[in-house]
């Protein structure tokens, strides 16, 4: 059952009444990769995911999973952590995990073993027999994550998995996701936080207003955009950085600024102008554009 392609969408559209949530979307998720489904809120990410996990059906277009149409058996190979998620408040943690695993047709013995393993992994073993209402929000989130991975799915779909987690737990979860990838699982990762995606995704698909803006390997995308961004730290020379002929967009951070070069502008020219203006330069470095920059550039091109 191993194919190179885990999920394939072909010209998929879905609308609710007058509202088009997803329009003519085609994308390919390769096996064993982390695929980022990115875009601002309301871009159609969640609807796309729901169609993949068969919660709702596309109006037109086809979706293939593991090389076939989705059915109950394939559904059992998917682990899904929706953005809207919760737990049964009065149910014990072990009971909940067992329930969700049973719904994935997992065998009894296997379930017990894996519950212990996974609780240890997220450092919640001593909470095994507590009710979920006794857990903190962060702990509940980790348990919700476990409901998605407990049955050892081949395809893991995570919708905004890190929102609301503290940095330590974000690191823990990221490690787990990367471990799963190393174990050959395919992961679809949906978020509007570009910085997070940038650090773990191999491939991405950017959505905006129900449509695909761009897709491909993150590496290739970045290099195709070229190094047209400059990280600058300097005193003075403000007028130069604000010149629209040279800099199309300027983002100021605490002690440095990131300047996106205008179309046809040369970094050398910018440097010379800064020196001429008498600015003292602490740092001047060509950098890759951030995913966020790429996204904004692309979206403004389309508009």
């Amino acid at each position: 059952m191993t194919t190179d392609i885990t999920v394939q969408l072909d010209r998929v559209s879905k609308s609710f009444g007058d509202f088009t949530a997803v329009k003519e979307l085609s994308l390919t998720v390769r096996a064993g990769r982390v695929f980022g489904l990115l875009g601002p809120n309301g871009a159609g990410k969640t609807t796309t995911i729901r169609m993949i996990v068969n919660i709702t059906a596309p109006d037109t277009g086809t979706i293939q999973l593991f090389g076939g149409k989705i059915d109950a058996a394939i559904q059992d190979r998917i682990g899904y952590l929706p953005e809207e998620r919760g737990l049964y408040r009065r149910m014990k943690i072990a009971d909940q995990l067992r329930f969700f695993a049973e719904l994935k047709n997992m065998s009894r013995n296997e379930i017990e073993k894996r519950i212990d393993e996974w609780l240890a992994r997220v450092k919640l073993s001593e909470w095994k027999n507590k009710r979920s209402m006794e857990l903190s929000k962060g702990m509940q989130q980790k348990i919700q994550f476990l409901t998605a991975v407990l049955h050892d799915p081949d395809l893991l779909i995570l919708d905004e998995p890190f929102s609301g987690l503290d940095p330590i737990n974000v690191e823990l979860m990221k490690e787990i996701v990367l471990d799963l990838k190393r174990a050959g699982k395919t992961i679809i990762f949906s978020t509007h936080q570009m910085e997070v995606a940038e650090r773990i995704c191999d491939d991405i698909c950017l959505l905006n207003r129900s449509q695909k803006v761009l897709a491909g390997s993150l590496r290739e995308l970045k290099s195709s955009f070229g190094r047209n961004s400059v990280a600058v730290r300097c005193e003075g020379g403000d007028g130069v950085l604000d010149d629209p002929a040279l800099v199309s967009k300027l983002v100021r951070h605490a002690d440095e600024a990131q300047a996106l070069l205008a179309q046809g502008a040369d970094a050398q020219v910018l440097l010379r102008r800064l020196i001429d203006s008498g600015a003292r330069i602490g740092k001047f470095e060509m950098v890759e554009p951030s995913l966020n920059d790429i996204f904004i550039t692309k979206v403004s091109e389309h508009a």
């Binding site: 996990v53 709702t56 899904y80 998620r85």
Partner: protein, 437 residues
């Protein structure tokens, strides 16, 4: 199927383990016992000595008759006393101790003053004056210091009535045999002629139908709201979407419905057992006192029908609660929307009467086919004038088909509502959702 069972099991175990369930299951029989046993105990407490009553019988004929009538409360008394009194638990026997005071002659007024004095001194608890024209006018006076004692008053009045009647009959020269015959209560037994010509007691079956209908009504009132809550649970806790990546909404809904229903049946079975135990205890007590009891002579197949229609009625209304649950986001909203359900239920329940009056009419036929009224109407028809088997089967088929149909619609509405991050759905919206999805 495995997933359906997983949902059913979770629903059942979580609910049966809940403290509320355990508490209410134990509490109801306890309360029942309390209400059944305590009043009987209280009433049987012999509150002091018998009531001492002095009787001034100015007619000169009634004293012995009154004494006899009081001593021997039954059987003539049974037809006199109101049902209320009769249904009271066994009363302490002979609560009166009579004493005759001479009343003939000119000193009647003085006698009366002496009685009043004795009453004040608490030597007697009351005195009864039967004036000379009592046999004609029927007005007697009973003086006592506790006029609020309705029970004693009633017993006394009834005994007096019997004494007077007896005396009048004697004066009319009616012979003793005829006299006795006059008071013999009659027995009316309603007997139904079955298909095979065998006779059995229709009244008992009828009571049973009524009982089953009533329990159904209670079960729906009690568990409808719980089913509504169960359906909303995953929306409120936002688990629905996780579940829907594993199971179909229909499986989820059916699992919940059946799970909660098994909880209901568990509770009813426990209560039923407790109730039967009380009833058996009561019957054995009554038997010990020499009363006769019959186990209702109802054919076995009726029990099967009753069970089937009980389940049908329960499920029909339970699924409507599930349907309401699929449209709303909080149990409060659901409660309001569920009001009309109760109304339909009550109306269906009252169809009992017209159907029992003319079980063969086409009206009866149709209401016993409509799923909402069939659970009451069809059993009534079965015990009154059993319809052909195909009608019973058809009624059940339509009913359980409707259950599945409603659940199917409910699960579609549920799914779309969830996808819409829904606020509560209006009825037209819900209809549209049921069509799309």
């Amino acid at each position: 199927m495995k997933k359906f069972l997983a949902i059913l099991k979770r629903e059942y175990i979580q609910r049966v383990r809940a403290k509320m369930f355990i508490l209410s299951t134990i509490l109801l029989p306890a309360v029942m016992a309390l209400f059944g046993i305590v009043p009987a105990l209280v009433l049987s407490i012999d509150a002091g000595d018998p009531m001492r009553v002095a009787v001034m019988d100015q007619t000169g004929k009634l004293y012995t008759r009154l004494e006899a009538a009081l001593a021997n409360d039954e059987p003539a008394a049974a037809s006199e006393q109101t049902d209320q009194v009769r249904s009271m638990p066994e009363m302490p026997a002979r609560i009166f101790r009579l004493e005759q005071v001479p009343a003939i002659g000119p000193d009647a007024g003085a006698q009366r003053d002496r009685l009043e004095e004795r009453l004040q001194n608490k030597e007697i608890d009351g005195y009864l004056i039967l004036p000379p024209d009592f046999m004609q006018q029927g007005n007697a006076e009973f003086f006592n210091n506790n006029p609020g004692d309705l029970f004693s008053n009633r017993v006394l009045r009834s005994a007096l009535t019997r004494a007077v009647r007896e005396q009048r009959l004697i004066e009319a020269k009616v012979d003793p045999g005829t006299r006795q015959g006059l008071f013999q209560p009659i027995q009316l037994q309603s007997v139904k002629i079955g298909d095979a010509g065998e006779a059995h007691n229709a009244g008992e079956s009828f009571a049973l139908v009524f009982g089953v209908g009533f329990i159904m009504y209670l079960a729906i009132l009690m568990y409808g709201q719980i089913i509504l809550g169960a359906v909303i649970e995953e929306k409120e806790t936002r688990i629905a979407e996780i579940l829907f990546s594993s199971v179909k909404p229909f499986t989820l809904m059916m699992g919940k419905l059946v799970g909660v229903s098994l909880v209901a049946l568990t509770q009813l079975a426990i209560w039923g057992t407790a109730f039967s135990a009380f009833a058996l205890y009561g019957v054995s007590l009554a038997k010990a006192r020499g009363l006769k009891f019959n186990i209702p002579g109802v054919p076995f197949v009726y029990y099967v029908y009753f069970a089937l229609f009980f389940l049908l009625g329960y499920f029909i209304y339970a699924t409507i609660y599930a349907l309401v649950g699929s449209m709303v986001t909080t149990p409060q909203e659901g409660g309001q929307l569920a009001m009309p359900i109760i109304l339909i239920l009550v109306v269906s329940f009252y169809l009992f009467l017209p159907v029992s009056r003319s079980p063969d009419s086409s009206f009866s036929f149709w209401v016993s086919m409509v799923p909402f009224s069939a659970p009451v109407a069809m059993p009534v028809r079965i015990v009154t004038q059993t319809p052909p088997f195909w009608q019973i089967a058809l009624s059940l088929l339509i009913g359980f088909g409707t259950v599945i149909g409603i659940m199917w619609i409910a699960s579609r509405i549920y799914r779309v509502g969830m996808l819409m991050y829904g606020k509560r759905a209006s009825i037209p919206e819900a209809l549209r959702w049921a069509r799309q999805a």
